[in-house]
């Protein structure tokens, strides 16, 4: 136990002191802060501190002065109207940023031509729906009022539909899919890259030939577990730092309304937080021990990548299984993904967030994952013990099996 703590302490100190670790953590945190400030930065670059101005030019008086009513409507624009501007004059106003966009209404025989003019239309496929609806509704209302209909008549021809979305399945998923996907990605990368560090750390010890001194100082089991726990703790601190920075930045820099609509935080409870941390730890352990196994089978840094490929493939399969079944969270495949130990760390926290997983489901999923970790640990420690003093070329699968069979 004493040696385990010594290995954990040394591993944590060694990892936290690494320049690459410090620099990458700082870069990630800075990128998060910048990322949440993008809307503010864009605003300050474009000088759009005030509401965008929409200029509506009706030289032929098609709307018969009714455009003035739009000035009071909440359209997300400050509306300006005119009835004596040419296209060239409108163009100058847009290019000089006097107005952000313009609408020119022209009569052509029996038809009305409406031109929506912006400075650059590259990112637009068509005239925005809100503009089309706004002018169509205004024109219809104008014509209806000309017919002299009463308020009651007007009520009967105005649709008063109430739309609602319902499903036939009993299980009801709730929660914001964007938050879930974001967290799934963060969790996957956190588990994957922390676990990868274990492999790299073991191979480094083999490369630097320190392994023989190390295994005469303490048992291989202590080394593997100490290294895995040490890197895991540093990884967890890094994950908490990243998620914490993201949450604080979102609160500090994002428009509260935008934050509310894009990221519904109401489903993020302390229970979910604890479960997510539990799955991070268990998922990390499963993958870190697999990486400890592969890391011990090579002795050259250039061989790490190929030795780790099978584990990487398993991790990616697990992640995508969770990620894609999340689109249909009530499917049986998503239930399977939440129990299958390869994908459950990336899947179960989100089923909980969606209110689809009962306490029993969570207990079964965790039990399966723990048993899997124990099996992996037994195999990984056995192979590690036999493989660490084996220098030379990368081992084949057959060699690894022989290592396991060796006393």
């Amino acid at each position: 136990m004493r040696n385990l703590l010594t290995v954990i302490k040394f591993t944590m100190k060694d990892m936290a002191k690494r320049k690459s670790f410090i620099v990458s953590t700082i870069i990630i945190l800075v990128l998060i802060v910048i990322g949440f400030n993008v809307p503010n930065i864009m605003k300050s670059i474009s000088g759009e501190d005030t509401e965008a101005i929409l200029l509506i030019v009706d030289n032929d008086n098609v709307f018969e002065g009714n455009l003035e009513t739009l000035k009071q409507a909440d359209l997300g624009y400050e509306v300006e109207t005119s009835n004596n501007l040419t296209y060239d004059e409108v163009k100058v106003k847009i290019e000089s940023k006097e107005v952000s966009e313009a609408i020119m209404i022209e009569k052509q025989d029996e038809n009305v031509k409406i031109r929506y003019i912006v400075e650059n239309a590259t990112m637009m496929a068509q005239v925005p729906d809100n503009i089309v609806n706004m002018l169509s509704t205004l024109y219809s209302n104008m014509q209806i009022s000309k017919l002299g209909l009463t308020e009651a008549q007007l009520q009967t021809i105005t649709p008063n539909f109430e739309f609602s979305l319902e499903q036939t399945e009993e299980q009801q998923a709730s929660g914001n899919i964007l938050v879930m996907m974001l967290m799934s990605i963060v969790l996957f990368y956190a588990i994957y890259f922390c676990a990868y560090q274990v492999s790299s750390s073991i191979t480094t010890e083999k490369t630097s030939k320190i392994m023989e001194t190390l295994v005469t100082s303490t048992s291989p089991r202590t080394i593997v577990l100490g290294k895995t726990i040490g890197i895991g703790i540093v990884g967890l601190i890094q994950l908490i730092l990243i998620v914490g920075t993201a949450l604080i930045s979102a609160k500090a820099f994002l428009d509260p309304e935008l934050l509310e609509s894009a990221l519904d935080m109401s489903n993020i409870t302390p229970y979910l937080g604890i479960i997510t941390i539990v799955y991070f730890i268990l998922g990390y352990f499963a993958y870190a021990l697999l990486y400890a196994l592969t890391g011990s089978t090579v002795s050259k840094p250039e061989d790490i990548q190929s030795a780790n490929t099978p584990v990487a493939i398993v991790a990616v399969i697990g992640f995508y299984l969770a990620y894609f079944t999340m689109m249909n969270p009530t499917s049986e495949l998503n239930v399977f993904a939440s129990l299958f130990p390869v994908s459950s760390p990336f899947c179960m926290p989100f089923r909980i967030m969606m209110g689809l997983a009962s306490g029993t489901d969570v207990a079964i999923s965790i039990a399966i994952l723990v048993v899997t970790i124990l099996v992996i640990a037994k195999v990984a420690i056995k192979i590690y013990s036999n493989a660490i003093l084996n220098y030379g070329t990368k081992m084949s699968f057959k060699d690894i099996v022989n290592m396991y069979k060796n006393k």
Binding site: K13, S208, E212, T213, S217, L389, Y391, N402
Partner: protein, 297 residues
């Protein structure tokens, strides 16, 4: 008896790499383990230290089975290694703590040995900034820092300059004086001859020669004579049908099969009035014995 290896064997993938090896260290001193590359020295050492399991046989230290957790041993492996990015002091402290030392005692020991090995100035530097020789001294420190009773040194002098070799040699002498049991594996026969009273020579996993070095040498007849004269004596040598092994500036090393012929040569030279500055009948060196024994196999 303190360390006993009895009929120890190990097989890897159908090949017996250590075959029925036995030896023991009964009192403090240095035991020499010799052999060519692949002779089974490192495997024997790894089994002795419990890094790998033996297939059969018995290894005991003070009558009890040797295991890493309970026997206080130090090990300098042939494969030299340090943590390149970690400060020397930190890595020495790490290994000292793993060997059960308390922080303050470990720090005291680190400073003491750093002074002895003249590496004090490097303690706060990362290992990658040190020369190979200094890195080797650091690793030597790792093997003795926790004051072990049993120390295994695999090629302790390889790669060291004469000054640093001398420092390590003096420390080994002190360790023996302080009652330590040392097993030294080396290809440098001169070092083994200097330190070891008992040796084992291994070849292809088997012991081909074992015992007290002095006694072993006694059993070998003289095989050379070194003569230093003031003129060419080739004709005298040929007359006795002897073979010159080496000749530089009238200093001859001549192979002999019996001492009588060496005396006859000396008589002939003196009779003809040739000035003989040096005449020494030589016993075979450990190197000769090693080549003869390993060559035979």
């Amino acid at each position: 008896m303190s360390l006993v290896l009895k009929n120890v064997s190990k097989t890897y993938v159908g090949k017996k790499v250590v075959d029925n090896i036995s030896f023991s260290l009964t009192k403090p001193g240095v035991y020499g383990l010799l052999g060519t590359n692949g002779a089974g020295k490192t495997t024997t050492i790894r089994m002795l230290l419990g890094i790998i399991k033996k297939d059969s046989g018995e290894i005991t230290w003070k009558g009890k089975a040797v295991d890493r957790e309970h026997v206080n041993f130090g090990y300098l492996p042939e494969e030299r290694g340090v943590y390149p990015k970690t400060k020397i002091f930190d890595q020495l402290m790490y290994f000292a703590e793993l060997k059960g030392m308390k922080k303050d005692k470990a720090a005291e020991s680190i400073n003491k040995w750093a002074k002895e090995l003249k590496v004090e100035e490097y303690l706060q530097m990362p290992a990658e900034k040190l020369s190979k020789g200094n890195q080797q001294k650091i690793q030597f420190m790792t093997s003795i820092i926790h004051d072990p009773e049993l120390i295994v040194l695999d090629e302790p002098f390889s790669g060291l300059d004469p000054v640093n070799s001398e420092i390590i040699k003096n420390i080994i002498i002190d360790l023996v004086r302080n009652g330590k049991y040392i097993i030294m594996s080396s290809h440098q026969m001169a070092s083994i001859e200097e330190f070891c009273s008992e040796i084992s020579i291994l070849n292809k996993g088997k012991t081909v020669l074992q015992g007290n070095l002095k006694e072993i040498k006694e059993t070998y007849p003289a095989n050379r004579v070194e003569v230093n004269v003031n003129q060419d004596i080739t004709t005298y040598i040929k007359a006795l049908e002897l073979e010159v092994e080496n000749e530089t500036n009238n200093n001859y090393v001549i192979k002999i099969s019996e001492e009588e012929k060496a005396h006859k040569l000396l008589n002939n030279l003196i009779k003809d009035g040739i000035q003989v500055d040096k005449f020494e009948i030589k016993k075979p060196t450990l190197n000769d014995i090693f080549i003869e024994r390993v060559g035979e196999e």
